[in-house]
């Protein structure tokens, strides 16, 4: 198969956070691949990816899933004899791949420009506040001791907004996923995956999604736990808000034994713990994987953290009957939520939630297909 060489690939990748010093430094000793606990025969990274980067093999890189298989424990960067930070290059490749799958081009713009991303987030933040300011009926709810959240922000209105957002963003995300499928599987003529394998492998993919099992092979169990706890909490919160908002957002205050309350507590604990773990790590820069932070990492963690914090505050104010504070915090909560969802779900870091399991799914599909062919 012919390969097209793109001499400008490195410039492009550098705008996603690959450092010239790093990709230039690699002398291809293979240490990173061999030290990685996740590499196996047939799925070897990061070195081969760095090779493709150096050679400008854009299509090959775009069709590869290897960057998604890496959870960034940092072993490769720690032991790299050239100090080339292969782990960080994988991270930057994930950003680039996200933009490659995104046909709108928005992803690339957000990743490449910190001011733009900040501007979009700020705009949405203030827009949400403005909507509440204009439409919410604060004067009518003048009883300061009686919290009527559902009159301030009626569940059906919020739910409708949720569903509209869900529909629009799902459209983008699903089309990006399809794009990924085409690039990774359909265009790869070397393996033809039998249909029945899809059904066989999908269970493993789901298992991997909910447990991040392969992540456990990496160094650092706390890292795995923080990542998984954050992800599961986020998923739980997401489904509560999108699918069960009527059950979750009530004016009656349930006793503490009610699942609405303790589920909410666990989720919030996960969000706070996870985002704090990553924020502290990134601020200290001591751990190899946290040494370099992209602006998307910080915006993402900050928004997640603020969503969780405002969520807690709403709860505290509501229980204590502090009506006005509840309404304002609620508006703030959504003002953090909306920009996070809009900019991250289909176009930035959030999407690794789907790309990574998909990548593992595709990688396993190819592996099983090759195994089948060998046995024949």
């Amino acid at each position: 198969m012919s390969q097209r060489v793109d001499p400008n690939l490195m410039k492009e990748l550098e705008s996603y956070g690959v450092k010239k010093k790093d990709w230039n430094a690699c002398f291809h000793c293979g240490n990173c691949t061999a030290v990685c606990p996740l590499t196996e025969q047939g799925s070897m990274f990061p070195r081969k990816g760095i090779r493709s980067m150096q050679m400008g093999l854009k299509d090959k890189l775009a069709a590869g899933v290897e960057p998604w298989l890496c959870y960034y424990c940092g072993d490769c960067s720690d032991t790299c004899p050239r100090d080339a930070n292969p782990g960080e290059m994988m991270m930057a490749l994930r950003r680039w791949l996200t933009s490659v799958y995104d046909w709108t081009g928005l992803s690339g713009k957000l990743y490449r420009s910190k001011p733009l991303h900040l501007a979009v987030v700020s705009f949405l933040f203030f827009a949400v506040l403005a909507v509440f300011f204009i439409f919410a009926k604060i004067p009518l709810l003048s009883d300061p001791a009686n919290v009527q959240l559902n009159s301030f922000a009626p569940v059906h209105v919020i739910e409708l907004a949720d569903h509209i957002m869900l529909a629009v963003l799902s459209f983008f995300l699903l089309s990006n996923m399809l794009n990924m499928f085409i690039k990774v599987v359909i265009k790869d003529k070397s393996v033809k995956i039998p249909i029945h394998l899809y059904f066989k492998e999908v269970w493993l993919a789901i298992w991997n999604f909910f447990t991040q099992w392969s992540f456990r092979k990496c160094e650092g169990k706390l890292y795995w736990f923080a990542h998984l706890f954050l992800m599961l909490s986020y998923m739980a919160m997401f489904s509560l808000i999108v699918l069960f908002l009527g059950w979750f957002q009530t004016d009656t205050i349930h006793p503490i034994t009610h699942p609405q309350r303790w589920i909410g507590y666990i989720i919030t604990a996960g969000l706070i713990f996870g985002s704090l773990y990553f924020m502290i790590g990134r601020a200290r820069k001591k751990d190899r994987k946290f040494k370099f932070s992209h602006h998307s990492d910080w915006i993402w963690l900050f928004l997640l953290f603020m969503i969780a914090i405002t969520g807690i505050l709403i709860h505290i104010f509501r229980i204590n009957g502090m009506a006005h504070l509840t309404y304002y915090t609620y508006a703030l909560h959504l003002a953090f939520e909306v920009p996070m969802v809009v900019t991250f779900v289909a176009f930035s870091k959030w999407s690794h939630l789907v790309y990574r399991p998909l990548a593992i799914f595709f990688a396993n599909l190819k592996k099983s297909t090759l195994a089948l062919q060998k046995n024949r």
């Binding site: 002398f27 000793c29 240490n31 691949t33 061999a34 030290v35 196996e40 025969q41």
Partner: protein
């Protein structure tokens, strides 16, 4: 006479902030006060990103010549060449003032750096202006270190009829080469080619061999050094010891054998190895029970010669005078324990290459048989007298070398000695599977590439791919590597792993450098005056360096450098005069000489 155009000076490096570095601010102030410099720039005042911008500046100040000053000014010369051309000047009018080139590397050399700047501003070569005065030379030479470099230099000088004091820290001469089994690429037996030279040293009338001695101080000037030598108490009389070995038979003191790289034990009273020169016993104070507790003396009872062993002997210091000093202190091997993931020290059969040299040597603890190391009753790793041979052996290259985390440099010899070891394993255990994991194969010398081809044809698995880790697996060792050529991941289970450890400066190199007033490179090797044209001289007159202490090299290069150092010493001895130190020339003298030379140049035109 034509009026000379203006000269600008650009400082490309900023050393401020680094400890013990040249004071850049002071140098810039010096340049600013120098009437020859029309303008002084530094990266903070004039960034070197855009030649056009620099050209504009050159035009603005009407400069016709540029001096670039710094550690390695050649690095930025291309930018200035373009700028000069763009400004309508001759790029040939760029003069480099390289501090490192003239040995100005630390804060103490700031005056020399000023001299370099003064000469460059005058358009005079520093070497022409800064000529040290010549003084009479003492005809004797002190050589520090009696490895193959020191031995070679000593023989060259002694054979020319001059006296040599050969000072060796350990109980025998021979150094690392004596420990090797074979030498690449000819596979000569190392001992067979080295021991005749060692014996010659011991018998040479012009060589005063001072083994078990250390240099403790150097004073005086080039041509007339006073060298203080600490004679460590050997506790055995060199002139009466007959080397019978009765003393060691019953000696209760034990210590790991230095000569066997620690894989066997020796007594407290010992002879480093059977062919040692001098072939006499000595007592290691650290393991001798008498020295430690004041009770024992078994060796004295068993010694057949009266008054030969004196357990109460004390260290003494002697002083010798010499005109030249040759430093040939060699190296130490990289401590493989630092790379934890290779499991050295955790697994019995992960060995360093130096240890394996002793295993495979016929005079080693296993009599040259390759056996697996086992645990003895006390929990120590030992090589059995009769044991099981490994079925598979892996050699890992570049341990501690070419690695940003340890040593960035290539140790130069590991590729070749690993190939040699692979050959020796194949020779002794033809059915063993031998694999070599390398990053790049550096077969750089005469006959080396051919040697590499030969080893490949002997059935050794030579794999391009750095091994990332070695893990214990049911008594076996599991290696993980990426095979670049075959494009696959290798997980190989072997019985024995040999780590090709790199060479590093000796721990006491800094101490020696300080004592002698010579400088070291970043890595700690002794710095030569010029890496190409003056590879054995240092910036200190009368002191030359030879062998691995100057930088990693193989035996042929070490021997060549030993001879070269000897030639430098002989040169001054034959001439009867020796050049002093550049650092002893006062700055005013260099400035005056530079001015004189530049006027001469002008007059010629």
């Amino acid at each position: 006479m034509e009026q000379k155009g203006l000269t600008g000076i650009y400082f490309c490096d900023d050393f401020n902030g680094k400890s013990d570095a040249i004071d850049t601010a002071e140098l810039m102030a010096y340049a600013e006060n120098n009437p020859d410099a029309a303008v002084t720039w530094s990266p903070s005042r004039l960034p070197i990103t855009d030649p056009e911008a620099i050209a504009a500046k050159i035009k603005e100040f009407k400069l016709e010549r540029m001096v670039i000053a710094g550690d390695m000014p050649g690095m930025v010369k291309p930018v200035f060449a373009r700028a000069m051309a763009a400004a309508g000047n001759d790029p040939g009018d760029i003069i480099l003032a390289g501090f490192r080139e003239y040995g100005a590397v630390s804060g103490a050399d700031t005056d020399r750096a000023k001299g370099v700047i003064a000469c460059a501003l005058k358009g005079v070569t520093f070497g022409m202006a800064a000529v040290p005065e010549e003084t009479d030379v003492n005809q004797d030479t002190v050589i520090i270190g009696a490895g193959i470099a020191g031995i070679q230099a000593a023989l060259e000088i002694a054979d020319s009829g001059r006296k040599v004091y050969l000072i060796e820290k350990t109980g025998t001469i021979g150094g690392h080469m004596a420990m090797f089994d074979k030498t690449f690429p000819t596979l000569d037996c190392a001992a067979c080619i080295l021991t005749p030279k060692m014996v010659e040293i011991g018998q040479h009338p012009n060589i005063e061999l001072m083994s078990y001695c250390e240099v403790s101080g150097v004073s005086g000037k080039p041509g007339n050094f006073k060298v203080k030598i600490l004679k460590k108490a050997r506790r055995v009389n060199l002139s009466t010891c007959i080397g019978c070995g009765n003393c060691a038979e019953k000696c209760p003191g034990r210590a790991p054998s230095e000569f066997d790289a620690g894989i066997s034990t020796r007594r407290a009273i010992y002879i480093p190895f059977p062919q040692a020169v001098p072939n006499k016993y000595l007592i290691d104070a650290d393991s001798c029970l008498y020295v430690k507790n004041g009770k024992c003396g078994v060796c004295v009872k068993n010694c057949p010669v009266e008054n030969c062993i004196n357990l109460d002997e004390k260290d003494e210091t002697v002083e010798v005078t010499a005109g030249n000093i040759i430093v040939a202190t060699g190296f130490q091997v990289f401590d493989a324990k630092k790379v934890e993931r290779f499991g050295y020290g955790q697994h019995a059969n992960v060995l360093t290459s130096l240890e394996f040299e002793r295993v495979v040597n016929a005079a080693g603890p296993t009599a040259g048989e390759i056996y697996l190391r086992t645990l003895d009753k006390k929990g120590n790793y030992v090589f059995p007298k009769v044991g099981t041979a490994p079925e598979s052996v892996a050699l890992i290259h570049c341990v501690g070398s070419r690695d940003e985390n340890y040593h960035k440099y290539c140790s130069r010899v590991c590729c070749m000695y690993s190939l040699k070891l692979a050959h020796l394993i194949k020779e002794k255990l033809p059915s063993a599977k031998v694999s070599e994991y390398y990053i790049d194969m550096r077969a750089f010398g005469k006959g080396y590439e051919e040697f590499y081809e030969r080893i490949k044809s002997e059935g050794v698995n030579i794999i391009q791919g750095r091994t990332a880790k070695v893990e214990g697996n049911n008594g076996k060792l599991l290696l993980r590597s990426e095979d670049m050529i075959e494009d696959k991941l290798i997980e190989e289970e072997v019985d024995m792993v040999i780590l090709a450890v790199g060479l590093e400066p000796r721990q006491d190199a800094a101490e020696i450098a300080k004592m002698l007033g010579i400088s070291q490179t970043e890595e700690g090797w002794f710095r030569e005056a010029d890496s190409k044209f003056d590879p054995v001289n240092t910036f200190s007159g009368g002191i030359t360096i030879a062998g691995v202490c100057q930088g990693p090299k193989d035996i042929p290069d070490t021997v060549a450098q030993g001879s070269a150092a000897a030639a430098r010493a002989l040169q001054s001895q034959i001439k009867g005069k020796i050049r002093g130190n550049i650092k002893d020339i006062p700055l005013q003298k260099i400035e005056a000489r530079a001015k004189e030379l530049s006027t001469l140049e002008e007059a010629k035109k």
